[in-house]
């Protein structure tokens, strides 16, 4: 059986800077992958290329056996690969439900069905009490949940979560952890980019570590934590690993 996502030689240059260099990895269905690395190592650039927001300089991305590199973001999304944004991107002047409806419209044309779907997803992320609140009036944790609900409404097979735990308090991280784990048990494959190590280490089945755009390690969270190359990359950030 082929992997759900196959990335081969993915590279992105900005002028002379190589942000992502020859990245190759696979993600199998049902997996929870942690994509980690120090600041500026190319994680978000990788996400942007996977989701179609950014065109790769070279390399291929195959999703369920179909090549998707270079497709526009909306096409990628409709193929079942959704993302959340590191900096939350709500539609500020409409309600939480309407925000999620935009995603739901990928699979339905009718307003009523989309609204039902949206309310369902808001329930799933625990945002039902805020369903009719304008997005601009939500707190950061609520907005992060809204990001996930929007992405879920498109019924993704693969979900890219970009720093959903960053900026949250410790209790809030626990809430988010529970939520993401549940999504995975419900059958959604996830790739997580995250700085909060407790979050990644608790969730991931497998971690891919990148530094300066290149992959430096891969393995279970324990293996990665004990890898000297990873330690070297994180030198000075060691405290946050433990």
């Amino acid at each position: 059986m082929t992997a759900m996502l196959e990335v081969r030689g993915l590279t992105r240059r900005f002028g002379g800077l190589v942000a992502v260099n020859d990245l190759t990895f696979e993600v199998n269905e049902g997996e929870m992958i942690g994509l980690i690395g120090p600041n500026g190592s190319g994680k978000t650039t990788t996400f942007s290329m996977l989701s179609g927001a950014l065109r790769p300089s070279s390399g291929t991305i195959a999703f369920n056996g179909e090549r998707i590199e270079g497709l526009k973001a909306n096409k990628v999304c409709r193929k079942g690969l959704a993302r959340t944004f590191q900096v939350v991107q709500p539609f500020p002047d409409i309600t939480a439900t309407e925000n999620v409806m935009i995603g739901a419209f990928v699979n339905t044309g009718g307003g009523r069905q989309a609204e039902a779907k949206a309310r369902e997803e808001l329930e799933r992320v625990g945002l039902t009490p805020k369903a009719d609140t304008l997005a601009k009036e939500l707190t950061l944790l609520q907005l992060k949940r809204l990001e996930i609900a929007k992405a879920l409404a498109t019924e993704p097979k693969l979900l890219l979560l970009d720093e959903v735990a960053a900026g949250l308090t410790s209790t809030e991280v626990d809430v988010m952890l529970k939520l993401v784990r549940q999504l995975n048990t419900e059958g959604i494959t996830c790739i997580i980019v995250e700085h909060v190590m407790r979050f990644v280490m608790n969730l991931s089945h497998r971690c891919i570590v990148i530094d300066f755009g290149s992959q430096i390690a891969e393995g279970t969270p324990e293996e990665v934590l004990n890898n000297p190359a990873v330690h070297a990359a994180y030198l000075g950030e060691e405290a946050s690993i433990a």
């Binding site: 909306n74 419209f105 009718g110 307003g111």
Partner: protein, 335 residues
């Protein structure tokens, strides 16, 4: 709330408006027809400007295409305006699709989009002024052929008035219907946050082109109506920056991206400006546009969401306050 309610409201208000000819004098009936023309055009602009958030400053282009098409076909080939209407719809759709395709493909937005649209409508003024077949700078008079629906011409204002009511009711029902549909949600998503919209499967370029075509075609229909009412078209009366700005002022003052906003704006401003012009026009030319300028500045400063937008916000706040405060149980915060 009953989902049919907004539709019923539109039809009932439309029916009640039809009683106006019983009470209004000729002068006020003329103003009423003007209100309907501009309300219709403003509703049409609202689709691209209000819902999709692309502030076109050049919708006079489409209005002009509509007005000139019908005037030319009626004058030159003696065709009924209904044929002209169909041709105008086709031409404006083609123009709006082509312009939208170029402009949105190159991701022009905000101020740049506004500038391109101004340039296009102003260029149209100069092109039309140089085509003798279209009457050049002087424009074209249309012949009055008698009181007949087949010629879309009526003796007195009442016929035009009922036609205007039908058009405005139609565009309001259309807007209201689309409001629950995927297309308008996608437009709002484009307006609010384009990157997020793309990430949620919205083809933002396609959505914007569709909105531009819809808005352009409806503006052309408004232009046909305008030409039939005045029986005259001139380069600056249907093309150009001033007309384009006039179209959007009503929508902005009434409330961008609301069903009723453009109508409310036209109902308030058109009579006010016509009466000002009637009273002061001779001694103070320009008083009408001066008034529009003032209203525009004050709207932007004190109620940028327009009258209906302000009403919506006040209602939301009131509902918010009356509802029991909800505590987010899982997150634990009490905001």
């Amino acid at each position: 709330m009953n989902l049919k309610m907004p539709y019923i409201r539109i039809v009932v208000i439309g029916a009640l408006i039809c009683l106006l000819p019983l009470v209004l004098s000729t002068f006020y009936m003329h103003i009423a027809v003007l209100v309907l023309i501009w309300a219709f055009l403003a509703c049409a602009w609202n689709i691209i400007g209000g819902y999709a958030g692309q502030h076109s400053l050049g919708n006079g282009l489409y209005m002009g295409i509509g007005a000139y098409t019908v005037a030319y076909l009626v004058n030159r080939f003696n065709l009924t305006p209904w044929v002209g209407l169909v041709v105008a719809i086709i031409l404006s759709a083609a123009a709006a699709a082509f312009i939208g395709w170029i402009v949105f493909r190159y991701a022009l937005k905000g101020a740049y989009f506004a500038l391109v649209t101004i340039a296009l409508t102003e260029a149209a003024v100069y092109v039309v002024s140089n085509i003798p077949a279209l009457g050049g700078a002087g424009g074209m008079q249309m012949e009055y052929r008698g009181n007949s629906l087949a010629y879309m011409q009526f003796a007195g204002q009442n016929g035009y008035f009922y036609m205007g009511v039908v058009l405005v009711v139609f565009i309001l029902l259309l807007t209201q219907w689309y409001k629950r549909k995927r297309f308008f949600y996608q437009l709002i998503a484009v307006r609010e946050n384009e990157d997020a919209a793309e990430a949620l499967g919205v083809d933002t370029v396609k959505a914007k082109i569709k909105a531009n075509v819809m808005s352009g075609v409806l503006c052309a229909v408004g232009g046909v109506f305008y030409a039939q009412y005045f029986l005259y078209v001139g380069p600056r009366s249907v093309f150009g920056e001033v007309v384009s700005v006039q179209i959007l002022i009503y929508a902005i003052v009434g409330g961008l991206g609301t069903t009723w906003g453009p109508v409310v704006g036209a109902v308030l401003l058109v009579p006010l400006s016509e009466i000002t012009r009637g009273q002061l026009g001779n001694s103070f030319p320009g008083s009408q546009l001066l008034l529009y300028g003032l209203v525009m500045v004050l709207t932007m400063m004190f109620m940028p969401f327009g009258i209906m937008g302000l009403a919506d916000r006040l209602r939301q706040r009131w509902q918010h306050r009356s509802a029991t405060p909800l505590v987010d149980s899982q997150g634990g915060e009490a905001s």
